[in-house]
């Protein structure tokens, strides 16, 4: 029997009870004639041949040598270089003033308190150096995705704005992006050589800025190898327990030490909720990818893969065994860092961007013994692999209403903003004026009290040079550990299916994913059996999943899979 039959009967009864029966019956006749709502717009992606014509040339910067250079790994991915100290004699990469006195409105997200723009000497310093008036208008990063749709709807876009990839979902970006300027005529191929600092941006980062066969974006905060995250552990606790982290190579090994690391009476649990960071361990596509092409060439969703089921089962087993912190199982994700810092969770998952000196400072404040480390890549089958995220996931765009001269001025400004770490321009863009906003202490720039009130990440969200591993004075070891982990990780870097293709799914499938997210949570927290997941999957397939597969098959046939 169809489980939905009962629901429908209830519904009819309910409508009759409330006097809406007539409406239900009249409505069904009218409705039968209507088709499903579909919205226009293509998949937004671009095939490889087209890419070759659009992508700018790559001329790496050679003026500076990092203390720990990047390591070239598999598939052309490179680990991030490390400067342990700011170079003593910064180089100058831009001659003259880039701007021509133009005035531009901007909008960038900011995750932090927004500084006053009135009499802000940092903005004044940078604008003077740029020779243009960039009106910086940072907006709350947490609510950024709610600010964007009205801006597009009202056609009130600023001249230059940043949009992170995770805020594009509800914009129908393949349509939205047409409001911005096509930068191809100015940057494609050798044209970019007019802007040497932009030419030093690696090709993979440019690739993630292309929609509908056109180069629209300027990448910010990209790297040569972006992992979706890592599994972290408390090195100090491992040492105390006498566990050698290098002996942990698989989920089974993790399970093997869980009991030893769990002591509820002392308020310590082995695991946090790191399920979202397990995709590479079980080899199914993790976010932002959901689709993959299997060995037989068939397009499959992650939810259909036996690997995903295996991961769900594994995590549910740990949850049921009581190895996962109860607050993590209560969905208190936002307190996860605090639990890890204070040692309530010994093993957790997080983005690699969280492995910083600032994190160590917070951790030491909670527990003076705090040392964070990441496992070398685990794998359930002994074959470690790390699918790479798109090189950049934040991009800035120039308004399509700008004239060619204005676009050229903005690109010259971008060339200044993209000056590499170790240049005088980088110091100005990131720290403002020496003596006023920052001073040099032990070889590193440090914000003054005035600077810490005025300097915020704003210009950096318009475009950046390749980002080195950040080093906080006094925490050099963190940067060294991170560099060593990444150098090992890039050996196993892979290009997942649909890598860096900027695909926009048709809007009518937007609601397909939520029930799967919900049920997979239920199963891995041990609230529902695996059969509930399989039931939901069947519904997913019939209510649009198979149609969406067809969409991805078309993308694959027409545009390839980004390999």
């Amino acid at each position: 029997m169809n489980p939905l039959d009962g629901v429908r009967a209830d519904r009819r009864r309910f409508l009759e009870l409330t006097g809406l029966g007539a409406l239900a019956i009249a409505g069904s006749g009218v409705l039968a004639g209507c088709g499903d709502a579909k919205t226009g717009g293509g998949p937004g992606t671009t095939d490889k041949g087209q890419l070759g014509k659009i992508l700018p040339a790559y001329v790496p910067a050679t003026a500076l040598t990092p203390d720990i250079p990047g390591v070239v790994g598999a598939n052309g991915f490179t680990s991030t270089p490390v400067f342990l100290k700011y170079p003593a004699s910064p180089v100058t990469t831009v001659t003259g003033v880039p701007g021509k006195g133009g005035s531009y409105t901007t909008m960038t997200p900011l995750w932090g308190s927004i500084p006053s723009s009135k009499g802000n000497s940092y903005y004044e310093t940078v604008n003077a150096a740029l020779g243009a008036d960039l009106k910086m208008q940072p907006a709350d990063g947490v609510n950024y995705e709610k600010i964007l749709p009205p801006l597009f709807a009202g056609n009130k876009l600023p001249d230059w704005m940043m949009i992170p990839s995770w805020n594009m979902g509800n914009l129908g970006f393949a349509d939205a992006v047409n409001k911005f300027a096509d930068l191809g005529p100015y940057l494609s191929g050798d044209a970019i050589k007019a802007y040497p600092n932009l030419a030093a941006i690696p090709t993979a980062a440019w690739q993630s800025c292309i929609w509908n066969g056109k180069l629209f974006g300027l990448p910010t905060f990209y790297s040569g190898a972006t992992a979706g995250g890592a599994l972290f552990f408390r090195k100090d606790i491992f040492e105390k327990e006498g566990i050698n982290p290098d002996s942990i190579k698989s989920p089974a090994d993790l399970e093997g030490i869980a009991k030893q690391l769990t002591d509820p009476k002392a308020g310590q649990w082995a695991f946090g909720d790191f399920f979202d960071y397990m995709a590479h361990v079980f080899h199914y596509p993790g976010d932002p990818y959901r689709w993959s092409v299997d060995s037989s060439g068939k397009v499959v969703n992650r939810y259909e893969m036996p690997e995903y089921l295996e991961a769900l089962n594994w995590f549910a087993k740990q949850a049921k065994a009581g190895y996962v912190h109860p607050d993590a199982l209560a969905g208190k994700k936002e307190e996860g860092k605090q639990r890890f810092w204070s040692g309530k969770e010994v093993i957790t998952g997080d983005g690699t961007g969280s492995w910083t000196g600032a994190d160590e400072e917070s951790g030491r404040a909670a527990n003076p013994a705090y040392v964070k480390a990441a496992f070398k890549l685990l794998a359930n089958d002994g074959k470690p692999a790390m699918p790479m995220n798109p090189a950049a996931s934040m991009y800035s765009f120039l308004n399509g209403k700008l004239s060619a001269d204005q676009i050229k001025e903005c690109l010259s400004i971008a060339n200044y903003l993209a000056a590499p770490y170790g240049s005088t321009e980088w110091l100005t863009v990131n720290f403002g004026k020496q003596g006023l906003d920052y001073t040099i202490k032990d070889g590193n720039p440090q914000l003054t009290e005035k600077g810490s009130k005025e300097v915020a990440q704003t210009y950096q969200f318009l475009v950046t040079p390749i980002t080195p591993v950040p080093v906080n004075p006094g925490h050099e070891q963190v940067a060294k550990d991170y560099a060593a982990w990444e150098a090992d990780m890039v050996k196993y870097a892979t290009k997942p299916s649909f890598y860096g293709m900027n695909i926009t799914e048709p809007a009518q499938y937007a609601n397909l994913n939520q029930p799967m997210v919900d049920v997979s949570q239920d199963v891995r927290y041990g609230r529902k059996p695996i059969s509930a997941f399989q039931d939901a999957l069947a519904t997913w397939r019939s209510s649009g999943g198979n149609e969406l597969r067809k969409f991805y098959e078309d993308v694959k046939n027409k545009y390839g899979t980004g390999q």
């Binding site: 939905l4 629901v7 209830d10 519904r11 409330t18 006097g19 239900a24 409505g27 069904s28 009218v30 409705l31 209507c34 499903d36 709502a37 919205t39 749709p149 009205p150 597009f152 709807a153 979902g169 509800n170 914009l171 129908g172 349509d175 939205a176 509820p264 009476k265 308020g267 649990w269 912190h325 109860p326 607050d327 199982l329 209560a330 969905g331 208190k332 994700k333 309530k344 809007a507 937007a510 609601n511 939520q514 029930p515 919900d518 049920v519 949570q521 239920d522 927290y525 609230r527 529902k528």
Partner: protein, 326 residues
Amino acid sequence: MTALHEAPPTASARPSRAEARTLKKADRRRRFLRDRALVVMTLPAIALVLVFNYAPMFGTATAFQTYSIYAGFWHSPWSGLDTFRRLFGDPLFWSAFENTLTLSLVQLVLFFPVPILLAILLNSVLSTKVRTFVQSVVYLPHFFSWVLAITIFQQMLGGAGALNQFLRSHDLGTWDIMTNPDTFKLLVTAQVVWKEAGWGIIVFLAALAAIDQQLFEAAAVDGAGRWRRLWHITLPGIRGIVVLMLVLQLGNVLTVGFEQMLIQRLAVGRDASEVLDTYAYYYGVVNANFSIGAAASLFKGLLSLILILTANKVAHLFGEDGLYRR
């Protein structure tokens, strides 16, 4: 009309319908002139209601469109009742609807009487010091946000909270309160009681204060005990307010704590925590399917209106004032 003029002289004391109309008109004019200062004072409030309550109602047009943010209200294509067909065809919507109704019912039975009981209890405390103190303590949680309230619950009753750590340290096993979907409705109600019951007593305390004290004294002289006085004086004295609050509550039956559900969704899962408001949020706002969100909200608004009018009618049938005097 002529029939009225031929009416017997006894009835002529009552004005004719035409006369009544002119009288009423004059009366209305007189009343307006008398109350004009008060009328002017209400204008800002009326403007607020128009701007923030009535103007946004045009947004419900999206429920009948295939709404796209790029096209806006004016250019999005009309889709008739298609959105509603999709909405009513979605079993997840009906499970959210069912959750909303059961949760409302549970809260009506378990939450609604609590402020009344508390108010009567407090009213019987003679020491003003004790009364003010207790009142302040029970008011306080109302001013906490739901995030804070639920964090406090998690810290106290959660799997690693004070209670369970105490049970653990005495080897008494643990008690799963915060992540048990089966008892979630009771948990949610308990949270509402903790947070809002104190605030809810204000209106009942005012009603209690309005009861003539002489009635109690007279009853006491006649030998009525504590319970008799409660039954025959206190409860009838606040009946009107209780009915009014109940009618208002029924209008809100389909609004059961959006934030509370959103925050605890991961803890107990979708099945237990999805209500109409969170459904509209996840399937309407988060995924930019604004038409579906608008349709779900419109459906909810319509039902609420029907409920509140029905409840009001019932109140009138029982001779109470309800929302307004007839």
